[in-house]
Amino acid sequence: MKEDKLHLNQLKALLKKDISLLFRKRVAIFIFGGPFILMFILIGLPALFTSQSAIVLLVHSEDIGYLDSNIGESIVGNISVYFDSDETMEVQLTDNLTKVLYTSELGYYIPTNFSEQAFTGSPITFTIDATLSPYTSSIFNVVQAIASNVMVTYLANRTIPPLQNYELPPESLSEELILGPKAAAIAMPLSYMIFLLIAMNSGSYSLIGFAREKRMRTMEILLSYTHNHSYLVISKVITGLVASLGSTLSYVLGIIVGTQLSGSNTSGLLEVFGLNLDKLAVGDIIISLIFVVIALLISTLITMAIDCNLTREASERVSPLISIGFAMFFYFVVMMNPFATSSALLINPFYWCYRLGLLLIAGVFSMELLLYFSLIIGLVALLIFLATRGIQKEKSLYLE
């Protein structure tokens, strides 16, 4: 009992020391200030030097209609309604084709016979004018989707649809049918959060890991006084989690402040990751956040295991690469297809977290779920064992 208390006190002391070191001036600026400053510079600063006014979409419809129906007019009306609540976009109607064609911003023109040709089934054209940036392309995708919707409704029912807010559906994926819309909605935000937090974590490895203890020559003291060496690892892992969560918070705040300066509406903390509270249940968001933390835990443990088993110089070089390598591979594959499954992904621990999170959110309790759960538990235990055994090896005492 007395010994248990001593062990617990040692863990508390180690944790207090590691967390205190995290909040030292230089370290804190790097870990907690760095992401904020970076995102502020990337997003907010350009906004201070550029116009904060909304992008103008200049629209002109010459459509005279056909059989008392004017599809062009309806499209223009629907576009206006769609962008009405978007402060970054301003739809302006004009009666001059030249202005549309030579606008320095975005232009959209519907010709005179648009309704007639749509009605008779002839190919129809409209004109767009824009700079070819991905952002403006995405705006025209929206415009085109609205136009298609109006036309399809008209051709099917021979009635012009009323002005409405469009919910543009995402592309349907076969796996989505199995896991359901909830998992589909959270797939991209979850993979992004896992990747981002691991990327954030990797920057702080050299500041929180055992490499620093070796540099300060405090390893001997820690190893001599600490009864249970796994506490040394646990303390570092918890500190790593605090550091990366702090970094991420700083990153998010940087984006929020930056976007506020640029006049955009993105202000919610979860919205930065694409987590829309209107569409997702709070429980699902919590589950996904739990798996983000588990992925972080694995990432930190990988670092500790490498850090403890290699000499200082080698571990400082190798450990961030391994975690980031796994995370990048996972993210880029999943980004292409959120429901991708390949043998290369199956050996990726971050994919296990991601997939297990999706299965739980979808409520699919299968052998697959059990497999990923077992793999994660087994890996965490193995990494703690490797790290603890590593720091007891003589290499941990030597700088080079």
């Binding site: 405090t218 001599s224 007891q392 005492l397």
Partner: protein, 259 residues
């Protein structure tokens, strides 16, 4: 219980192709100061690390206070106070935070040691405002003095001190020697000392073990080393220098000399 705080039996350590420590038999009597001496690279640090249970011996045994460290390194964890050769502390923390951390690791609070630590601070001229500065802002001597306090304040029966007075001014070095003597004479501690400073050794060492090229070439009390290596001048420093220069095995004294 063993009469020796430390006893090694044919202790050896190999690093790849190099034998760093070769079949040494050290015996450190309890409540004594034992100086482990030797030229640079003689194997002192490796021996100390094996005694601490941080390095696994390639062969032989280490016993600390009767526990077999080679078989079960966990058995002595937390039983030895350590003052490493370099000021091992968290440079971003203040001396007070460093001391509190070491105390907490040993299940002690600052209040538990308040009287004793205040006495050490007074003797070593450590002003209260110094304790609030980052460790990195202290001078080398101040850092060493704080490190010394961190090692002795944990109240361990057995203390290992590597160069305890290195980098200290004359006054602080004198007080540290006096504290070390008090720890043994008044509190019954056992101290393993590794030092190159002759004044420390002359004043403190009761027993000496001399390591050379990984082998223990001499072990005995101070008088014996003088009689063996400097019989004419009876000078302690000469005796140590002669012992360092003598070829391995030339004047080896049986390790059993410490009765």
């Amino acid at each position: 219980m063993s009469e020796f705080m430390v006893k090694t039996v044919n202790l050896s350590k190999d690093f790849k192709m190099t034998r760093a420590v070769n079949r040494i038999n050290i015996k450190i009597p309890k409540k004594s100061i034992y100086a482990l001496l030797g030229p640079n690279g003689a194997g002192k640090t490796t021996t100390i690390r094996m005694i601490l249970g941080l390095l696994k011996p390639s062969a032989g045994e280490v016993y600390v206070n009767g526990f077999n460290v080679s078989e079960n390194p966990k058995s002595i964890r937390g039983q030895i106070g350590l003052l490493p050769q370099f000021s091992a502390a968290y440079y971003d923390l203040t001396p007070l935070q460093n001391i509190k951390f070491i105390l907490a690791l040993n299940n002690l609070t600052f209040d538990d040691v308040n009287v004793k630590i205040t006495d050490y601070f007074e003797k070593l001229d450590i002003k209260p405002d110094l304790l609030q500065k980052p460790f990195t802002k202290l001078s080398g001597g101040e850092q060493r003095a704080i490190s010394f306090v961190m090692a002795v304040i944990t109240d361990k029966e057995f203390l290992i001190m590597d160069e305890p007075t290195s980098g200290l001014d004359i006054a602080r070095a004198k007080y540290i020697r006096s504290i070390i003597k008090d720890l043994v004479e008044e509190e019954g501690k056992t101290i393993l000392l590794s030092s190159h400073i002759v004044s420390d050794l002359e004043e403190l060492a009761e027993y000496c073990g001399i390591l050379k090229e990984g082998s223990l070439v001499f072990q005995g009390d101070k008088e014996e080393i003088i009689n063996t290596y400097s019989p004419e001048t009876k000078d302690f420093e000469d005796a140590i220098v002669n012992a360092f220069q003598a070829p391995v095995g030339s004047k080896s004294i049986s390790p059993e000399v410490i009765k």
